[in-house]
């Protein structure tokens, strides 16, 4: 066990993957010499060389499109999109090509491409640097979409994503990059798409992934002081969602609040609420509530704290769910 930041855990994970498989490549803007704008790929180019850690031209469609070609040639590219809001030049390649190549070839080709995207707000950035576009990818068949909440999951889920023969969109909670946690690199990790109960409780389930897991854990702690015992499920995977784990939790607590930074309208919470309502209709004591972003562009940094779901917004939803 070693304590490390989430950024460092991803760095170690990339290093391990590159050491164990010479076909693993790291590509993106500023990932080489600089080590990425968040230093997530720090030192990798120095140790693995420019042939494997590639500073690409400034062109996201080019990055993903060429990663597809490299995958066709037997490589396992792990590409970085510098910030959430800059993935869209690559969206065409991701949706029309990366996601569909396997089906188009009737299974004869595989697309082991990982797209790492630092996402979410809370870092006081300018426009396009704080968004949560995960639903735009979860909506596309052929893509797997995951988001770790802890350094340990960041380490292991990235290992698993790189080993996976399908394209994986790996959303990194950038505001948690500097949070530390224990990482056991000799552990046996949970399956990639398994949800985990991050905190056991009896009165209500909070479901979240990525940056919001910490907020939910804090909310559960605050609620405890008011005599409420909340369960927190860290979904970890957005496509697929581990509905079995979530169902078991909701059948126990009978109430569910889903929390994400992304806008709630057509967001992942909508899908989760709908499926859980189908599965647990007779267990539910309250409608599934959602806490998330508004139907507005991500606001300027000086009001983002109001926009982002925080403790108060989560607890407000908890109150409303418990009032039913």
């Amino acid at each position: 066990m070693t304590a490390m930041t989430l950024a460092k855990a991803i760095n170690s994970s990339l290093r391990t993957a590159m050491e164990s498989d010479p076909k693993v490549l790291v590509m993106g803007e500023d990932v080489g010499k600089l080590g990425g704008v968040f230093r997530v790929t720090d030192g990798l180019q120095k140790d693995f060389g420019e042939e494997r850690v590639i500073d690409t031209p400034l062109a996201e469609s080019g990055i993903v499109g060429s990663a597809i070609g490299l995958a066709l040639r037997g490589y396992r590219p792990v590409v970085e999109i510098q910030f959430d809001g800059f993935v869209f030049p690559a969206y065409d390649q991701i949706v029309t090509q990366l996601a569909k190549m396997h089906a188009r070839a009737l299974g004869k080709v595989k697309m082991p491409v990982v797209i790492r995207i630092p996402y979410g707000g809370g870092i006081g950035a300018v426009e396009h640097h704080s968004e949560s576009p995960e639903a735009l990818f979860a909506h596309v068949a052929g893509l797997k979409v995951i988001s770790p909440a802890t350094p340990s999951d960041a380490y292991w889920m990235l290992q698993q994503a790189i080993e996976c023969d399908d394209p994986v969109i790996f959303f990194e909670p950038k505001r948690r990059y500097w949070d530390k946690g224990e990482v056991d690199t000799a552990a046996v990790p949970a399956p990639l798409h398994r949800a985990l109960v991050a905190r056991e409780g009896t009165d209500l389930t909070l479901a979240a992934y990525g940056p919001m897991v910490k907020v939910c854990l804090e909310a559960a702690k605050a609620a405890e002081e008011e005599g409420r015992n909340l369960e927190v499920v860290d979904l970890r995977s957005i496509s697929p969602v581990d509905f079995d784990t979530l169902q078991a939790s909701v059948e126990k607590t009978r109430r569910l609040v889903v929390v994400h930074e992304a806008p709630v309208f057509f967001g992942s919470g909508a899908e989760i609420a709908s499926r859980i309502t189908e599965r647990c209709f007779y267990h539910l004591e309250a409608p599934v509530l959602r806490v998330g972003g508004f139907h507005s562009p991500y606001p300027p940094a000086r009001v983002e704290e109001e926009y982002l779901p925080g403790l108060d917004r989560v607890l407000d939803a908890v109150d409303r769910a418990l009032a039913f």
Partner: protein, 382 residues
């Protein structure tokens, strides 16, 4: 002008062809780094002492504004700043080449161009402070909002220029972008569209040698101005630290656009003297000796040397500019500090022009939610 003749023009455009990017190029230059006036076969300029002093003043004030913004960022008044240090001549020279009816499409670093358009510097600081995402009315000064997504604005400029041509107006459009941006598909598409529709647009690439940590060699094998030839319009490389040459070259390109000649690519060869932004640490990827070499080509020192040689400016003038920049810095400092945080309810403003039921619903819910805290202690968590 036919495609053939425009392409031919690009090859005799004063810049010698080189095999690879990054080698010292032969540039259109009218003022040497030492401040000596030189002639060029194709571009000339004849400015009055007053006009020369005007360019000097523009550059000094822009640099001062920029320095003040960096300080304000360090003090926590701004969240971020993208400095234009070193690129004053490229921006002032090209900006001063535009007419009021021309239209400018900037990236996020064109503070000097904004200055030439009459945009209040304080307007530029809102997005860097984090109180808005731009917010100025682009039609007031024909200066579009800053665009952060690299390359996008080159297409907007092209479309705007197509509209200008459809209207039969004789205005021109200028799109700014960087060496890194030249790799984006959008930029290639802008070149294609502007060429096909002979749009009156000037593509002004500030090749400041770096795209964050990546040198221009990571973006291109040929000097960037040569890209234009493949699209069928002229490209020219100008000394981006020579305000006279930039002014002359940009004027010619805008004039060409106005008179139906179609697009031109201007590559202003310059240098990003600072880090990419205040969040960046350039020492991780480049040598300071490189920066020092470019310091010797400083655009302001160069023009000052010329002004002094020509006796076109005296101490009183310099003192006046100094006093003016002090006043500007003070106004910016005070203006930024007084900039209020937006009301959280503005999150729901301007999402749509014609309204939207969901936005109205969420606005009402959020207002009620916020009101529910009114009677508890402010800010406290329950």
């Amino acid at each position: 002008m036919s495609v053939k003749s425009t392409a031919a023009r690009s090859s005799r455009g004063g810049a010698k062809r080189r095999g690879a990017a990054g080698q010292v190029p032969e540039l259109v230059q009218l003022l040497t780094p030492e401040g000596e006036r030189v002639e060029h076969s194709e571009y000339s300029i004849d400015l009055s002492p007053e006009e020369l002093r005007g360019l000097y003043r523009d550059m000094v004030l822009t640099r001062r504004f920029d320095a003040e913004a960096i300080t304000l960022q360090r003090q926590g008044e701004l969240g971020l700043w993208a400095s234009l240090l070193g690129q004053e001549a490229a921006q002032i020279g090209s900006g001063r080449a535009t007419r009021p009816d021309d239209y400018v499409f900037p990236t996020y670093r064109e503070h000097g161009v904004a200055w030439t358009r009459g945009v209040d510097p304080l307007n530029l600081l809102g997005m860097f402070r984090g109180v808005n995402n731009g917010g100025w009315d682009p039609n007031t000064n024909n200066f579009q909002l800053y665009t952060i997504v690299i390359g996008s604005q080159t297409l907007h400029a092209t479309g705007y220029a197509m509209g200008v041509a459809k209207d039969g107006a004789d205005s021109a459009v200028i799109a700014y972008f960087g060496d890194g941006a030249s790799s984006q598909g959008d930029v290639a598409e802008a070149f294609t569209f502007s060429a096909v529709y002979n749009a009156p647009v000037v593509f002004f690439c500030q090749n400041n040698q770096w795209a964050i940590s990546e040198p221009t060699e990571k973006q291109t094998r040929v000097p960037l101005y040569q890209r234009a030839a493949g699209f069928g319009f002229p490209g020219v490389r100008v000394d981006g630290n020579d305000v006279l040459a930039v002014l002359a070259v940009t004027r010619a390109a805008l004039e060409r656009a106005r008179s139906g000649g179609g697009p031109t690519l201007v590559e202003a060869f310059t240098y990003r003297m600072g880090a990419h932004t205040t969040s960046d640490d350039a020492s991780r990827y480049r040598l300071d000796t490189e920066r020092q070499e470019w310091e010797a080509k400083d655009p302001i020192a160069r023009l000052k040397a010329y002004l002094d040689n020509e006796k076109a400016a005296d101490d009183a003038f310099y003192a006046e500019v100094e006093a003016e920049s002090d006043a500007l810095a003070k106004r910016v400092r005070e203006g930024v500090r007084a900039m209020p945080d937006p009301d959280p309810m503005t999150i729901f403003d301007n999402v749509y022009a014609d309204g939207h039921a969901l936005v109205d619903e969420e606005r009402a819910q959020f207002a009620a939610y916020r009101a529910s805290f009114a009677d508890t202690q402010e800010g406290a968590v329950r």
